[in-house]
Symmetry: C2
Subunit: 400 residues, 2 copies
């Protein structure tokens, strides 16, 4: 009976303890800007030139010396010669964005003129500076345009391109080692139906695809049998990774050696979390490498991965936290939750044309795969809430 | 004066007209599942096997014949022999997920037993079927597991892997041709500061990176001068694309030929939209290929790309619409908008620890690059709203 896992750390505390054990990566790399969408700047970016780098016209019209047309109006028009350069009484036609000649101090809008041969009749006056964008008006040379730590969007890359920047230094992606454990696991590569009692290792692929999405590089281990020495050896092989995710072997069955190995090789920070499903999650550090031991059951593993793996990967990768996509939906049925546990209730999202409905999935166990396939999101029920009633409006976190 | 663009279609109507002209792609391709995150299924997926494909234990414990332990309790325990197979009076130890032998009809929890040598003292009875997952309980062979049109998430790929599926058929990615126009544009590849009056073509890269993000494949054209014939020729070269985005040449300046060419080669659906910035946007169809002509000014082009390019790419690619990421924020200043226009006001998002603040950016013109770099999102002001006051809570759509 002493093998029953009695300890239980709250999700919030467990996450805090785990994240404190994770250092953002120091490694950086130099990359061409076009490949940097989703990457994070490791240095601030200064503007190496003024934008605009010349005085530019803000309108389609004529570059003029404002003094030449003082007092012009529809009833008192002034005639100007359209020319290639500016002298007293002449003007230069410009389109929006064009260079405004040195000698001009304003741009007259096309709409305020009437074209007569190579002359224009000017029907409005302009103030000096009108419709002229000064050099450096948008971005001044030397100005910080992006701060260190900025997550690069396509539009940011366009902004950098406009400054003549071709390469930037970004934080390297964390390496995440993925170690599946279990005597009954079969590699995904094996063809045919696994023998009774044996299941395909789908967690490695699932973890690998998610950490890739979150900006890391997965490194896949072979399946490790439930044997202390072999688990120890497998972990040792991956201590050059930035994060280790071990799948399986964390509940209280006879062969659940992983948390023990974690404790013997390093520091076991947490074992047993107020998370449903996902209670058997263990967290620790070995030789400065954070280790997440998540339950082997896919649905529970997925919840542990979202609750602990995602913030860990983002912190290691220096990626600023991004908001989850949340939609408001009305429950079509009751959601109950275990007191003292943060419960991730899977729901089917339906759009009734006006608003979203969230249909709770009957999830008989943590291993129910079809519930993942069907569910659009999680309703996350906090520890201190008993559940929600049919008809309640709830936040549904979309499963990414 | 007749060149002034008077026509103005509302954003909603313009988008509807444009999307009606777009057919979702029929092309499909066969891919290995591991590469299918973000891809869309073009056929429904049926389960080719039962999950589980054997009767499996839902707990760590002992597979038993329930009749053998009828009436067992702490005060009236029953002894069972732990063996390798089930006969009357014997049981088989099983861990969660393990095969439950044919002869057993229930699994007794480990916690309800005391181990005594190779015997166990059973302190609870179980009903037939207890803690046994029946074959096909999770997914039944032949059942539809994902519908046609489903956008694949990493967890879905894991579910497919568990069914022994290695390849699926997905919709092909739309090809988006990107044609920059303008006499004053300089290719991004050119080194050094462009001459006065000339600007780098950053829109092509910006459009290319965004359409890639939305699931398309960009094809880049060279810069096309503002000449009807050359624009016509450039468009003709890309009529095998699924969508054409032309940047620049849509306002009312003397050299804005693109909408005219659009009308002469096909059908101009819309020219002039109630969108600020982004009014000069034109939409049309040439030889069944939808064409988006967006303003050349990056900030206005970006807004037109979000308002029209994104839904177009998603529809062509059969990608189900995904919700924008929206955060609630309190305005630190007033936002004014033009009546009759949907205004995209750029804001800086600041987190004051408790909530978000949205600081409106002073955007003197549509071409202001730095405003893109600084802004975290848009406050989208509908046509019928005059603007928002300091202190108002607003929805900020994060710029992706």
């Amino acid at each position: 009976m002493d093998r029953i896992m009695k300890e239980r750390t709250s999700v919030g505390t467990a996450r805090k303890i785990f994240l404190e054990a994770i250092q953002p990566l120091q490694r950086t790399e130099r990359m061409e800007i076009a490949g940097c969408v989703g990457r994070v700047l490791s240095t601030s970016i200064l503007a190496s030139r003024n934008v605009p780098h010349y005085r530019r016209s803000a309108m389609d019209g004529f570059a003029v010396r404002s003094a030449d047309i003082t007092g012009a109006s529809p009833t008192n028009p002034v005639m100007l010669q359209v020319a290639d350069s500016i002298e007293e009484g002449s003007c230069v036609q410009v389109s929006t964005g064009a260079y405004v000649p040195e000698e001009a101090d304003a741009v007259l809008m096309l709409e305020d003129t009437i074209s007569i041969g190579d002359m224009i009749e000017v029907r409005a006056q302009v103030h000096p500076g009108k419709n002229v964008g000064e050099t450096g008006e948008d971005v001044r040379k030397g100005e910080i345009i992006f701060n260190k730590g900025h997550l690069l969007r396509p539009c940011d890359i366009a902004v950098m391109a406009s400054l003549g920047i071709r390469e930037v230094t970004v934080h390297s992606k964390p390496i995440v080692a993925i170690i599946p454990t279990g005597n009954d696991l079969v590699p995904l590569q094996d063809t045919g139906l696994p023998p009774a009692g044996r299941t395909l290792d789908i967690n490695s692929l699932m973890i690998g695809l998610y950490v890739t999405k979150w900006g890391a590089v997965p490194r896949y281990s072979e399946i490790v049998p439930e044997n202390r020495d072999l688990i120890r050896k497998a972990i040792s092989r991956y201590l050059d990774a930035d994060l280790i995710v071990i799948s399986g072997g964390t509940s209280v069955g006879e062969k659940d050696y992983v948390p023990d190995v974690l404790a013997s090789m390093g520091k076991k920070l947490v074992h047993g979390v107020g998370l449903s499903p996902g209670k058997p999650t263990a967290l620790g550090v070995i030789a400065n490498v954070p280790v997440l031991c998540m339950p082997g059951y896919p649905a529970a593993g997925l919840v542990a991965l979202f609750a602990f793996g995602k913030p860990a990967v983002l912190k290691a990768g220096n990626v600023p936290g991004t908001a989850d996509i949340i939609v408001k939906a009305r429950l079509t049925g009751k959601i109950t939750s275990r007191e003292g546990y943060v419960s991730y209730a899977r729901v089917i999202l339906e759009d009734d044309g006006m608003s979203f409905l969230a249909r709770p999935l009957m999830t008989a166990g943590a291993g129910i795969l079809s519930s993942i396939a069907k569910s659009g999101g999680f309703v996350i029920v906090p520890e201190n809430v008993e559940g929600y009633e049919e008809g309640n409006e709830v936040d549904v976190v979309l499963i990414e």
